[in-house]
Symmetry: C2
């Protein structure tokens, strides 16, 4: 997918606000209603085995959740934090790291947004997949909180 | 605590093998029988709120577990991977990031080492705490696997 102006602008926002995303070489490669995908090259993110470092995988997956919520809220000033996460590392990642935050059930997303706008604080559970060659390598499930 | 020669050598090993640890500014600050502590400055690890980025916290905590096992195994060629982790972010970290991997119960550690030496593959659950001003900010519980 060709990066659009909005994905390049979003990438610039991430690099400015979260310097580790720049050090990791994070790119925003897909933004649409059903998912958000971030990529990062293996080179700055490899481990002692030449595969992707678990810490880079967890950082990229965590960031995909944040980024999805910035887009969903349409509010870059919203304070988004992660409350907890569970990560399962099923397979090593041998090439580019590619993390996709799946859109939650539309009813759950609508409820999250409604509560955020009413109370200024809302939480939602998100799932992020890191896939390679069509197979899931890493799954993150995280609870994110948005605050105004 | 003053870094010892061995902690500086270990830090060099981490920076060479896992480039993200260099980008994060990871330092090995305490290595002893009961715990292993890694630090990283806030500057390259902050988020959009000026506190520590969740991805940096998870990466540093994950790395503390790896490093503890390299020391426990006394074998830098051992292939250590993380199988799963659960991370709880209880408080924001406003200054230096400081992750301590606690030594597991001595009987569990001995069993892990015995199985590794017998079968060339062994797993263990580790707990890593990120603390600031005497309070726990982040807790990671992870299952690590060592392979020969």
């Amino acid at each position: 997918m060709t990066p659009t102006d909005s994905s390049l602008e979003l990438q610039k926002f991430l690099h400015e606000k979260i310097p580790l995303s720049r050090a990791m070489g994070v790119q925003v490669v897909a933004v649409n209603d059903t998912e958000l995908t971030l990529c990062a090259p293996l080179e700055p993110n490899h481990n002692h085995l030449g595969t992707a470092f678990g810490g880079s995988l967890s950082a990229l997956a965590t960031l995909a959740g944040y980024t999805f919520l910035w887009i969903a809220l349409g509010d870059r000033d919203a304070h988004i934090v992660i409350r907890d996460s569970t990560i399962s590392y099923q397979k090593p990642v041998r090439g580019e790291l590619r993390a996709t935050c799946l859109a939650p059930d539309p009813k759950k997303l609508a409820k999250f947004l409604k509560i955020f706008h009413q109370k200024g604080k809302s939480r939602i559970k998100l799932t992020v997949l890191i896939e390679e060659n069509g197979e899931t390598a890493v799954t993150l499930t995280g609870t994110y909180v948005a605050l105004r």
